[in-house]
């Protein structure tokens, strides 16, 4: 049996990460100056890691806090 899927990633969230990385490149020119510099593949991987860790009933507050920390670290790291 051959699976006819275009992305060789079993986990859908990982597939979403791949899609998001492509979206970043597609939209980069529309980004603000700061985002052009700071949004990268590593950031998307970190976002998807949060998504992977977050089960269905994870608190939105917890997810938000984790993502905010990712952004803060990126700002702090590169500023």
């Amino acid at each position: 049996m051959v699976r006819k899927i275009d992305i060789n990633l079993d986990n859908p969230i990982m597939q979403a990460g791949s899609i998001a990385k492509r979206a970043v490149e597609d939209k980069r020119k529309e980004f603000s100056e700061v985002s052009k510099v700071k949004i990268d593949g590593e950031m998307i991987d970190n976002l998807m890691a949060v998504a992977m860790q977050s089960s269905f009933d994870s608190s939105p507050l917890v997810i938000k806090q984790k993502i905010r920390n990712i952004i803060k670290q990126k700002v702090k790291k590169q500023s």
């Binding site: 049996m1 699976r3 006819k4 899927i5 275009d6 992305i7 986990n11 859908p12 969230i13 597939q15 979403a16 899609i19 998001a20 492509r22 979206a23 970043v24 597609d26 939209k27 529309e30 980004f31 603000s32 700061v34 985002s35 700071k38 949004i39 950031m43 998307i44 976002l47 949060v50 998504a51 977050s54 089960s55 269905f56 009933d57 994870s58 939105p60 997810i63 938000k64 993502i67 905010r68 952004i71 803060k72 990126k74 700002v75 702090k76 500023s79």
Partner: protein, 660 residues
């Protein structure tokens, strides 16, 4: 989630304790449970759902009240509780979930209510009661459970379900998206929007903080100026005070050196004042003495006047006494004379007896004699005495002998003290020879002026010091506020965070859109592949997925086959379930209740051949006597880890499940 063991105690038709061991391995992933109709296949399925989510649902969709779940035989035998325990694994964690229920009876002995308890242990650690639901849903969310704990008779019509625009349809679509992981991405997208809003608010707040900071800076400057001004005044006052105190010390030193002279001057001053006062007193006393002595010439006259005055007073008293007695006697005389004339008592009016007339006459005679006596002139007469008294009054001056004596004594005393004082003054004068009295006086005046100045300066210092303290206090308060404001700043970082969050939100929006399409394609592709393996017709047909995750058959020209039999519908439903299981973000065991109910032998064979390859664990609840063709049976049975049979006990309310 993969099942390990199910234990039911007096649950629905299962009397007593019944166990099902689900352990299997990849080479033998199938657990086969067989049973006649109404023996308890769906009850076993319900036990799984009730244990996990606390709800047992009939195929009609009705939630069965807990008290109805107690086994009838157990209830007849006065057992009032039932329990289901499920052991399972998830990501190498071992879970033991136990749900029990106690049924209560009404007055007639009918069951009418119940109370439940639930316990969860993860790796032998108890989970707090409030967290149990969250834990269970994180393993297999209830909303997506319909595709993993699948009642095929319900899901058979899923395609019609997803096409409808109602709550049930929404739940099915949400469940499919849930399996694919879309909600997680939506949560990320929502979080990014929230972060954008949060940072915007923080920036606005920081701008307000900036305004507040400007105001605080201004206030701080005012307070610092106040403090500096007060400090200057204080410093100036303290410098001046030092200077004044220095001068005071110098003056005091000088004055100390001439203390004796100063004391002498003071003493001299006091003595001179005393002498002056005494001279004044002596002069005054002498004048008084002269007057007293002069007045003393009239002393004998005064004595005669005094004697005359005594006589006059006595004569006046005597005259007054005679006048009073005379008046009284005249009245008595008149009364007695009247009585005698009328021969009656003057008081009671009765006739006087002879004896009384006689005594009345005697009394009248005595009164007349007395009146005659009193009427005789007195010598000297009162008129004379009054005239004489008036005349001598002109010479009636006070006697001064005592005053003269007192004054003479006083003058003598004062004169006696005078030489001693004069001597002392003379001696002081000699001691003070060569001393500049003016200088001492000036120094003393200077000291008094300096003391006054020091008093004023001390007051100024006290006031300025208070001002400094007030300013310091205000500055400390403002600095704290300033510090708090500064800690809330970092506006440029906030701007960057907001920009990044906003752009990431756009990225996620695009990602979700593409992801949904990709997932649909993935589900469609998988379902199509599975469908090709399960279908029995030779006609070339494919499945296509629509916006609502509905799967339809199309031919190679793209024509849709809307009409399909119940068997095909069930095959399509199984295709969807298996496709979702393949695509799931969280893999899980598949429990399929009555998957073959409407399938012919060919489809059954296809499913039995295919399904063991699609999950690490497949639990099939099938009807006893379900025909499996010999060509697939051997191959299928090789995949079966355990086989169970549900059978009836001593009565229709009693079922047992036994491994075969």
């Amino acid at each position: 989630m993969y099942l390990e063991k199910l234990t039911m105690v007096d649950f629905m038709p299962y009397t007593g304790t019944q166990e099902v061991d689900f352990t299997c391995d990849p080479d033998h992933p199938v657990i086969l449970i067989k049973g006649e109709n109404n023996r308890g296949k769906s009850s076993l399925f319900a036990a799984l759902r009730w244990c996990l989510y606390g709800k047992a649902i009939k195929r009609s969709g009705r939630v069965i009240p807990d008290f109805e779940l107690l086994n009838d035989n157990a209830f007849s035998e006065h057992r009032d509780s039932f329990e289901v325990r499920l052991e399972f694994t998830n990501n190498d964690d071992a879970y033991i979930l136990t749900r029990s229920c106690t049924v209560k009876k009404d007055a007639k002995g009918n069951r009418n209510s119940s109370s439940s308890k639930v316990y969860l242990f993860v790796n032998n650690n108890a989970v707090p009661n409030d967290d149990i639901s969250r834990y269970v849903n994180s393993v297999l969310n209830e909303s997506i459970s319909m595709f993993f704990l699948a009642d095929m008779e319900v899901l058979e019509g899923y395609e019609a379900l997803v096409e409808d625009d109602d709550e049930a349809s929404y739940q099915v679509k949400a469940a499919i998206e849930g399996i694919l992981g879309t909600p997680t991405l939506l949560a990320i997208r929502q979080s990014l929007s929230d972060i954008t809003n949060d940072t915007l608010k923080e920036i606005q707040s920081a701008r307000k903080v900036n305004k507040d900071q400007d105001q605080l800076t201004s206030d701080l400057k005012i307070q610092e100026d106040k403090r500096e001004k007060a400090k200057e005044s204080y410093d100036s006052a303290i410098t001046e005070l030092k200077s004044q105190k220095f001068q005071l010390t110098e003056l005091s030193n000088k004055l100390e050196k001439i203390t004796e002279s100063q004391q002498l001057i003071i003493r001299e001053k006091q003595l001179l004042a005393d002498v002056a006062r005494d001279h004044s007193q002596i002069d005054k006393s002498r004048k008084e003495l002269q007057i007293a002595v002069r007045e003393s010439w009239w002393a004998p006259v005064s004595k005669q006047v005094e004697e005359k005055q005594i006589q006059t007073q006595a004569a006046l008293q005597l005259a007054a006494s005679r006048e009073t007695e005379m008046s009284s006697l005249n009245y008595r005389l008149a009364s007695l004379s009247k009585s005698l004339e009328s021969n009656t008592c003057s008081q009671c009016g009765s006739i006087l007896p002879n004896d009384n007339i006689k005594s009345t006459k005697t009394e009248i005679s005595e009164i007349e004699n007395r009146i005659k006596q009193l009427s005789e002139p007195v010598s000297p007469t009162l008129e004379f005495l009054l005239a004489e008294n008036q005349r001598l009054g002109f010479f009636a001056l006070p006697r001064k002998a005592d005053s003269i004596s007192t004054l003479e004594k006083q003058i003598r005393l004062l004169l006696n003290e005078m030489p001693g004082r004069n001597q002392e003054i003379k001696e002081i004068g000699q001691k003070l020879l060569g001393i500049d009295r003016n200088e001492i006086k000036q120094l003393e005046e200077d000291r008094q002026i300096l003391n006054r100045k020091i008093g004023v300066l001390s007051q100024i210092m006290k006031t300025e010091n208070q001002k400094i303290q007030d300013a310091e206090k205000e500055i400390a308060s403002l600095t704290r506020k300033f510090s708090n404001l500064n800690s809330n700043l970092g506006q440029s970082d906030l701007n960057m965070e907001m920009a990044i969050a906003a752009d990431l939100a756009t990225v996620m929006e695009e990602t979700i859109k593409v992801f949904r399409e990709a997932m649909k394609k993935r589900v469609e592709s998988n379902a199509n592949e599975i469908f090709q393996n399960l279908r029995s017709e030779n006609v070339v047909k494919n499945l296509v997925i629509n916006e609502n995750y509905g799967l339809r058959q199309v031919d190679n020209k793209g024509n849709i086959f809307d009409h399909k039999g119940a068997g095909v519908a069930q095959v399509i439903a199984i295709s969807l379930i298996l496709a979702l299981a393949r695509s799931a973000a969280l893999p899980s065991a598949l429990v399929l209740d009555t998957p073959f109910a409407r399938l012919d032998e060919t489809h059954r064979d296809n499913i039995l051949s295919f399904i063991p390859t699609e999950s690490k664990q497949v639990v099939l609840l099938i009807q006893s006597g379900e025909k499996i063709s010999s060509k697939v049976q051997e191959k299928f049975m090789q995949k079966v880890a355990k086989e169970y049979l549900i059978s009836m006990g001593s009565n229709e309310h009693e079922s047992f499940i036994r491994r075969t």
